[in-house]
Symmetry: C2
Subunit: 279 residues, 2 copies
């Protein structure tokens, strides 16, 4: 139970956290901090926050949990600003899609301060952006990865673990480094491939698209600037994922080229068997 | 209105055609021709056919429309066998995913015979195989591509066009060659990419998959031997699609490598704009 939860950046994720927190009644007050009056108004209309402000200082006053849900390129500057204004004992979390850089930055920012930083990554989202699309059950049956470092406070970690569980997520703990490679494989690479697939398809061919093409490329409807920043921020892992993917693609291509039917069936079968592990 | 429709191969597509034909009441009788008693029994249980037989000769007797819905590697041998037993005036269609080879084969098979061949490709399906998953509305709001050649009988073409429209499909006409390149881009390549993506992902990472990964790879649950045959049959077009895709992928990769944020955003934006053309 929190006294006051401050959500910095009330978009799809921030707004959905607000709705989930209010549904579970785990905070006396939820305050949204935005950069523009219009975003605050939309979040209030959506009832994802109780109050809204443009002032970090006012918004953080009395907050025991601070959630940074700003765009990728704003997370680190925000951590710095928040640490300055956060009350003693407050726990700060982020929801950024890459973790190694942010976790390291957060550790250094809270060092010798009486506030805590816990890096988290809820694996939930939508190709729709903005608080208008926020959902109170966005995190139900989703996975939230928490990536503690050696500096992460154990008690703060437990509080945050419980926080994500209460709003519906299954929590997975792993190191920031392993996280970045895993999400690169399972999330960033599929996004990049969906974009590349749309890029290489003509608008004319699009007219013939069935459910297969639509599903395979749905995530290419996601926000370009957000994903450009994620790709660049997770460059190291992502370039590695791309290399592995290209190798798989070339092996399948080579079987097709050489009419190696049994070998091709075996490769497709291995892929299907892995895919059949999930629903 | 047909007197008797014979469906050769009563799987997902053949069974769904049977259900749709019975729903629209456009045939006095629907007969399924299978290779095994068990498939016939399943199709009868599903009510997708009125009668079933293992004999091509018996099944085709009196049929004025014959639909070949067998696996990819059996289509051409079936055309040959069917032409031998089809009654005078019968129209034969196939539903194969590649058309250049089949259209040419069909033309030659019906030459100087009093039966007609019309190559068709309903762009509908499921990652589930077998008549058990047949649906009476599988073709509603789907696209069916018909690929007439210079030898295709105009009257037979009109009958078949009307046939697909009545069971719910939007009909598109194009040459077999253009068809093969277009479906390679819009269907075969996405399937190949979904398989390659699963192949290059570890079972451990799969545990972290969200909706993005699931949607992008759903079609990798499709039948490996069927898709291996489609890939090999449409090799010429598919290798071309792969080359174009690889180029798109490499351009995006290069922007990431070189931190070219504006160029990267532009490319993702172009891809998103194309994807936004369809729902």
């Amino acid at each position: 139970m929190f006294n006051k939860i401050a959500i910095v950046g009330v978009g799809l994720i921030g707004g959905s956290i607000g709705l989930a927190v209010k549904k579970q009644k785990i905070a006396k007050e939820v305050v949204g901090i935005g950069r523009r009056n219009i975003s605050i108004k939309k979040a209030l209309d959506k009832k994802s926050i109780d109050k809204g402000t443009l002032s970090i200082k006012d918004g953080l006053s009395g907050a025991d949990l601070i959630i940074i849900a700003t765009p990728v390129d704003k997370v680190m500057p925000k951590i710095k600003e928040i640490v300055k204004h956060a009350q003693k004992g407050a726990i700060i979390i982020d929801v950024n899609s890459t973790k190694e850089m942010v976790a390291d930055y957060g550790d250094r920012a809270v060092k010798e301060r009486e506030v805590f930083f816990v890096p988290t990554h809820p694996m939930a989202g939508s190709d729709q952006a903005g608080v208008t699309y926020a959902q109170k059950d966005l995190f139900e049956d989703s996975i939230c990865i928490i990536t503690p470092t050696r500096s992460t406070d154990k008690e703060a970690l437990n509080v945050i673990r419980r926080f994500w569980e209460v709003i519906g997520a299954d929590v997975v703990l792993m190191s920031p480094k392993l996280h970045d490679q895993a999400v690169s494989n399972i999330s960033h690479l599929p996004h990049l491939i969906a974009y590349a697939l749309c890029k290489s398809t003509t608008a004319k061919d699009m007219n013939l698209s069935g459910n297969g093409f639509k599903d395979t490329t749905r995530i290419a409807k996601s926000l370009p600037h957000m994903w450009a920043d994620i790709f660049i921020q997770n460059k190291k892992s992502l370039l590695n994922s791309i290399a592995v993917f290209k190798k798989s693609l070339s092996k399948i291509e080579s079987d097709i080229k050489k009419n190696k039917r049994p070998q091709l069936i075996k490769k497709l079968n291995d892929a299907k068997n892995k895919r059949d592990l999930i629903k």
